[in-house]
C-alpha cells in the first residue's frame, strides 16, 4: 500500500521515496524481499473507474499495448503466464510469472516462478482517489538485481532505469485508458513486432 508505510521511519511518505530502502522495510510492506533486493514504485491518477482499469490489466494480453519491450505474454492457466521481453543486442529474456493474489477491482499481485533470470514480485493496486479524481494506480516491483554476464545484460534492461520504465509504462496505461490511444509523435517502426 503505497500510502501506508512505517510511520515512525518515513512519516506518511511511501517507502519507495525513502533515501535508503532495505529488505526489512519491504517485508513490512507485505512484499517478499531478500537482502540486496531493490524496490521500484510509482503512482499515477487515472480519470476512469477502478473496476474498468483492473479488468483491462487483469487480461494480461492487453499489457503489451502499453508496456515497452514486451514481445509477448501468454497465459498458460489462470495463475501462470509466460513473459518474453526484448533485451538489448537483439536478445530475448523469458520467464514465468505466477499470480499470487487477485482482488477484483483493487489488487493484482505476482511473483516470478522458480528459475526466473530476474527474481521478482510485486503488485498493482487500484484505489478510488479520495478527492474524486478517478483511480490511483500504484505499481510496486521488488526484484533481485542479477549478477554475471546475463545479469549485466538483464541489468541494462531492468536495473539501470527501472524507475523510468515503470513511469513510462504507467503513463502509457493512463493515455490508453483516458484517451483510447497511446500518444506518439513518430511513425511506427517499419518492421513492427510480431
Amino acid at each position: 500500500m503505497a500510502e501506508k508505510i512505517s510511520h515512525t521511519q518515513y512519516g506518511d511518505a511511501p517507502l519507495s521515496t525513502a533515501h535508503n530502502v532495505d529488505d526489512d522495510g519491504i517485508n513490512a510492506e507485505g512484499l517478499e524481499a531478500h537482502s540486496g533486493d531493490r524496490l521500484v514504485s510509482r503512482s499515477i491518477t487515472i480519470n476512469a473507474p477502478r473496476q474498468a482499469l483492473y479488468e483491462f490489466w487483469r487480461d494480461l494480453r492487453n499489457l503489451p499495448r502499453f508496456m515497452e519491450n514486451i514481445r509477448s505474454i501468454s497465459v498458460s492457466d489462470n495463475n501462470r503466464s509466460h513473459w518474453v521481453v526484448d533485451a538489448p543486442g537483439g536478445r530475448q529474456i523469458e520467464w514465468d510469472s505466477m499470480l499470487i493474489d487477485d482482488q477484483p477491482g483493487s489488487l493484482l499481485a505476482w511473483e516470478s516462478a522458480e528459475g526466473a533470470s530476474v527474481r521478482n514480485n510485486g503488485r498493482i493496486e487500484f484505489k478510488d482517489s479520495t478527492n474524486g479524481r478517478g483511480t490511483v494506480v500504484t505499481a510496486t516491483i521488488v526484484y533481485d538485481p542479477p549478477a554475471g554476464n546475463i545479469g549485466r545484460m538483464v541489468a541494462k534492461l531492468f536495473e539501470k532505469e527501472p524507475q523510468i520504465q515503470v513511469r513510462r509504462d504507467l503513463r502509457r496505461f493512463k493515455q490508453l485508458m483516458e484517451t483510447g490511444e497511446v500518444a506518439t509523435s513518430s511513425p511506427p517502426n517499419p518492421q513492427p513486432k510480431a
Binding site: R171, Q175, T179, G180, A183, S185, P188
Partner: protein, 396 residues
C-alpha cells in the same frame, strides 16, 4: 511534401520530407493553407531551447483543410477548414476537464515526458514543432501536418472568412488574450506591456477589450511602438528613457496595476544585468535572460498583477524575489490554454471586435520560409509577423 526543417543554430531549410500519416484513431491530416513564424520559433532558431534534432519540422501556428480523418474522430470531416491550436490536448484528463489544456497529461509521448518531468517536476504537454521536450511533434510550416486528438483542438471556420483573419487563433491571439486575462483587469486599471511583438500587440488590444483604462507599451523598435500606438497604447521607448521612472511618473507615482512580460528569455537592452546574463548564457551558466521580467517586477505597483506570456525554459539569474514578495505581487503565467478561448475569440473576430491582421508585415511562400526566419530575426523593427503560404508562387 515540402517542409521547413531545423538543422542547427540559424540553419533552417525547406526540404522534401515524407508525408505525414494517420498514426492514432483520433488523428487527422491537414493540408496547410496558411502558417506563421512565431517569436518562440526564434528561440528555436537561436537554439535557446534544448532537445532539438536535425530535421525537425517547425511551426505551431497553422490552419488548413482536413484531408484525412482517423476512425476515432467523429467531429471533423474531410473538407473542413480548421485552425489548429499549438497546444495538443486530449480533452479527457484531469487538466483538460478543468480547461487547463496546456497542462494536458496525455499528449506528450511517455518517452519524451521524462525530460520535462526532470526539468519542471511534472511532464509537460505536447505541442507542434517546439522541440522534443514537448513531444517532438512535426510542426505546421509544411504542406501537410498530422494533428493528434483532432476531435478536441481544431476549430472549424465558417466559409467566406479569409485565412489571415483567423490564423492567429492558433497561438498569439489567445496568448495575448490570456496574458491580459491573467491581469484580472479592474475599472480604471493601467496595464503596462513589455514587448510589442505579436503577443504584446494582441495583449494590448485584449487589455483594452477587457476594460483597461490605459495601456502603456514598452519596446525600442519605432515601428512596433507605432503599431502599439495604433492599438491605442501610450508608448515608452527604453532606448530613450528610464522605463521604471517613466512608468512611475506616467501613473502619478502609483505604478501600473498590471505588468505583462511579452518578451521572454532573450530580452534585449544594454543594462548591466542584461550584459551579465548574456555572458553567462554564452558559457551555459544560465539559460534564460530575464531583463524584462526584472523590470516588470520592479515597475509593477504594490499588490499588482504580473502576467508572463513570454517564454522561459530553464533557470534565470538574479531574480528579484525580494521585490516580488515584499510588494505582494500576484503572478500568473503559462503556455496558453488555447482550446479554452477558441470559440469565444472566433466569435469576436466574426463580430469585428478584434483586429487580427494589422500586425502582418510579410507574406511569403513556404519555399521562402528560411528567408522569413532570417528577416524576422534580423529586422525586428519592420518585420512584425511573417505569414507563409504553401503553394503561393515565389515572390522577390
Amino acid at each position: 511534401m515540402r517542409a521547413l526543417t531545423w538543422h542547427g543554430k540559424h540553419d533552417v531549410r525547406v526540404e522534401t520530407v515524407p508525408d505525414p500519416q494517420i498514426l492514432n484513431p483520433r488523428d487527422a491530416i491537414i493540408r496547410v493553407t496558411a502558417t506563421a513564424i512565431c517569436g518562440s520559433d526564434l528561440h528555436l532558431y537561436d537554439h535557446y531551447i534544448p532537445t532539438m534534432k536535425s530535421g525537425d519540422i517547425l511551426g505551431h501556428e497553422f490552419m488548413g483543410e482536413v484531408v484525412e480523418v482517423g476512425p476515432g474522430n467523429t467531429k471533423l470531416r474531410v473538407g473542413d477548414r480548421v485552425v489548429v491550436p499549438f497546444v495538443i490536448a486530449c480533452g479527457k484528463c484531469f487538466f483538460c476537464e478543468r480547461l487547463q489544456f496546456s497542462a494536458c497529461d496525455n499528449s506528450n509521448p511517455a518517452d519524451n515526458a521524462d525530460m520535462s518531468e526532470t526539468l519542471y517536476g511534472y511532464p509537460m504537454t505536447g505541442a507542434f514543432g517546439c522541440s522534443h521536450l514537448t513531444g517532438g511533434y512535426p510542426g505546421g510550416q509544411a504542406e501537410f501536418v498530422r494533428v493528434p486528438f483532432s476531435d478536441v483542438g481544431p476549430i472549424v471556420i465558417p466559409d467566406g472568412i479569409e485565412d489571415e483573419r483567423v490564423l492567429f487563433l492558433s497561438d498569439i491571439l489567445p496568448t495575448g488574450w490570456m496574458a491580459a486575462e491573467n491581469c484580472q483587469i479592474q475599472d480604471g486599471d493601467v496595464v503596462a506591456v513589455w514587448g510589442c511583438g505579436p503577443v504584446g500587440l494582441f495583449a494590448i488590444q485584449s487589455a483594452f477589450v477587457q476594460g483597461a483604462h490605459r495601456v502603456i507599451a514598452v519596446d525600442h523598435h519605432p515601428h512596433r511602438l507605432e503599431l502599439a500606438k495604433f492599438m491605442g497604447a501610450e508608448v515608452v521607448n527604453f532606448d530613450e528613457v528610464d522605463v521604471r521612472e517613466a512608468l512611475t511618473e506616467m501613473t502619478g507615482g502609483i505604478g501600473p496595476d498590471s505588468c505583462i512580460d511579452a518578451v521572454g528569455m532573450e530580452s534585449h537592452g544594454f543594462s548591466a544585468d542584461n550584459m551579465l546574463d548574456k555572458a553567462k548564457a554564452a558559457v551555459g551558466l544560465v539559460t534564460d535572460r530575464p531583463h524584462a521580467l526584472r523590470q516588470v517586477i520592479l515597475a509593477c505597483r504594490k499588490g499588482g498583477h504580473v502576467s508572463i506570456p513570454g517564454v522561459y525554459g530553464g533557470m534565470a539569474d538574479k531574480f528579484p524575489i525580494g521585490a516580488l514578495m515584499e510588494k505582494g505581487l500576484f503572478v500568473a503565467t503559462g503556455q496558453t490554454h488555447v482550446q479554452k478561448y477558441s470559440e469565444k475569440l472566433l466569435k469576436m473576430i466574426l463580430e469585428d471586435k478584434l483586429d487580427t491582421t494589422f500586425l502582418i508585415s510579410h507574406r511569403l511562400p513556404l519555399e521562402q520560409a528560411a528567408h522569413g526566419y532570417k528577416i524576422f530575426k534580423e529586422e525586428q523593427n519592420t518585420v512584425t509577423k511573417v505569414v507563409l503560404h504553401p503553394g503561393m508562387s515565389q515572390v522577390h
